[in-house]
Symmetry: C2
Subunit: 418 residues, 2 copies
């Protein structure tokens, strides 16, 4: 990416990031929002609640970035040192801001909570900043400018940061700079390894114009391919990337599941919504994770009626009509059981399709005959049931994720094949 | 933290981190593992697949850290530039490593996949590094030393990185340095704001010895308090932090839910396991997320039989015996419905306790009477049912998380009260 483009650095502040107590989801969200607005993110840095460390990273990022976005360290407690530090860094002094103070009072009044001096202090800001209102919490955002760099400090609470970014920060940055367009095109493949894909599209990749970049993003046993282009002429840019993207789709068409940047459960959702059909899940080893992935999508009630999470065998029998004999002879992790779970879910949950999974996710519960990682998957319609056996060799969390992705893909195949 | 302690920097490489396409979970995991071993993490930096950016960040972190851990950019495709870069950075040349090459061959043989030249190249490493074997994938890890700094490059695939860290990197670092002990004590509070907690323990915090640090970690409407201490005399350190932790627990005892670093669902799990009792869930608006949180814990089958994810009203009626009249008169999001869901789940899933939720998570589905964020929660035992109404004002994802946490807490109260 040419250095003539506007470059941002993201700084996240908090000891909890350095001891690994929380996963930093803010940075990814901010990077996405900046990118969409045409601002390239150059680096992301996380530092602890240590005065000299924060100071040093501010110096460092100022040297390389046009925009420095900072989150964290703005709470009302003593371990939050960001505000006094920024005040000193930019040579200001703390003053009470009327709007920010009123915002604190309004929130406490609305929540009917008593307010203490410590809360009111959140209304104080350095007199050298522009206040960014916080419509979702008490800590105001702060916008500083020094030399050619813009600094924006926001709270670390994701919901509050997102509100500020959407309502104020991105619009202000967009009106301030002549920003280029950054365009991405992403497709998802299933059933082919990264190396083979690379071999398959080697000539295509070599012939790509310098303005277009290709990335391989393997995840959950699938590989996404992403083309990215940056430029000021939106029409030319879109035309060029769409031409290349069409060529890429032709090359990998046997493995492509979607030509949009969406997960496999969204692909299934789109298919069902387009056909006016419905689905349900019957989950043993994924324990509700598939239901969660589906219901995390707004509007999923249009095609999804629910799930029976049948962790105990009694639940498989009582709610999904799995035969006691089947469980006794074949066991819970078997083709026969998972078939009955799928057809049982069709009936119990009243849908056109159902997908069922049963497996051993680890770390315990495996045997020589049925080792950890063994999974049976079934997808059923009113007229057909298909099954698949899988062997995963990862940890519990990843085995659950891989099972869910494989099950959604099996259902997808049944839907488009049927 | 004194600078005489060993300090690490974590560098994650990949354009996908800078456009926000993936959330970086590796850094948090690595930070936790380092911390446990007595190595403090000073900074975490994410950079793109850009030669000069990676080079610059290596220079920068070398200047401040004793150990630099690097993940990402080691795949078999053209956008992976980390290996040639490290080779040049440390002045080596790429040579075939027999062990790493054999590992690639073994994996392809085991998976019965054809191998191409590109895959074999993964067996090549700079001749100036020590190879860290990858028991879970094809890309070898690489250990470099220059001046007083140790560099370890690992693949970005979380499962592979974790294997290397556990089996090789942490043990090697531990035997190399005289590492201090880093001790944390964490408790979880419910029902009290961060500012009030801070007020409540102000004197305690002021009187803390310099070696002990207090942090406030608000999450899901709850606040965790964490004490951290670092030192070489383990016994003295443990004694001092445990003394302070006991004092802290006394101060916040009215709000404390657990004195361990564990989420609320683990607190419920521990209670049930200790009592030999069982639970089930009946989920409308959380859509399987509660079931997922429970079954993500290994061994949850000891106390958890399953969930009915009743997204559609028909499922509420058929599987949970919610009355058609109740749904018609009170609606799905109501005290009456959620009570029947909880008692219905007790019967259908055969447990000692059940917890049920029904609400409107947004962005759509709200009305003037029942706005987005309205949630009803019920917890039931064989002899009692308790209900709670909540109002959340966040986005869909966070509303789901807050609902789950609140529901687990209501169940916890029922269990300890009953």
């Amino acid at each position: 990416m040419s250095s003539s483009f506007i470059q941002a650095s993201i700084i996240t502040i908090g000891d909890e990031l350095l001891i690994g107590q929380v996963v930093d989801t803010n940075s990814a969200w901010m990077a996405q929002a900046l990118n969409k607005a045409g601002i390239a993110v150059k680096r992301r840095v996380a530092v602890g609640d240590v005065w000299e460390e924060i100071w040093k990273v501010l110096d460092q990022e100022t040297a390389v970035a046009d925009i420095v976005l900072i989150t964290g360290g703005l709470g009302p407690t003593a371990d939050d040192i960001t505000k006094p530090l920024l005040c000193e860094y930019f040579g200001g002094k703390l003053v009470r801001d009327e709007g920010a103070t009123q915002n604190v009072i309004n929130i406490f009044t609305r929540l009917k909570r008593p307010m203490i001096e410590r809360n009111l202090k959140q209304g104080e800001v350095p007199d050298v900043c522009t206040v960014i209102p916080n419509r979702r919490g008490t800590a105001p955002g702060m916008w500083f400018e020094q030399a050619d760099t813009i600094f924006v400090s926001m709270p670390g609470v994701p919901h509050e940061m997102k509100g500020m970014m959407e309502t104020d920060v991105i619009p202000r940055l967009s009106s301030r700079f002549a920003l280029p367009h950054i365009v991405h095109r992403t497709l998802l493949t299933v059933g082919v390894g990264e190396s083979f894909l690379a071999e398959m599209i080697q000539d295509f990749e070599t012939a790509l114009p310098p303005a277009i970049k290709l990335a391989y993003l393997p995840n959950y046993g699938m590989v996404r391919l992403r083309l990215s282009a940056t430029g000021f002429d939106e029409q030319a840019l879109t035309q060029e990337i769409d031409g290349q993207f069409a060529a890429l789709q032709t090359l990998v068409k046997d493995y492509m599941v979607t030509n949009r940047d969406e997960p496999i459960e969204q692909v299934v959702a789109n298919l069902l919504k387009a056909r006016g059909q419905t689905m349900a899940t019957a989950e043993s080893c994924t324990g509700g994770y598939m239901a969660h992935l589906i219901t995390a999508m707004p509007g999923s009630s249009a095609f999804y009626t629910g799930s029976v999470v049948a962790y105990a065998n009694a639940v498989k029998m009582n709610l999904l009509q799995v035969g006691e004999n089947t469980l006794a002879s074949d066991g819970a992790v078997s083709e026969a059981t998972v078939r009955q779970m799928a057809t049982g879910a069709l009936a119990a949950l009243g849908t056109d399709y159902a997908v069922a999974v049963s497996g051993i996710m680890g770390p315990d519960g495996g045997s020589a005959e049925k080792p950890v990682g063994l999974v049976w998957i079934a997808a059923a319609s009113r007229s057909a049931t298909v099954v698949q056996q899988m062997h995963f060799r990862f940890d519990r969390q990843r085995n659950i994720q891989l099972t869910a992705a494989a099950a959604f893909n099996l259902l997808r195949q049944l839907i488009i094949g049927g």
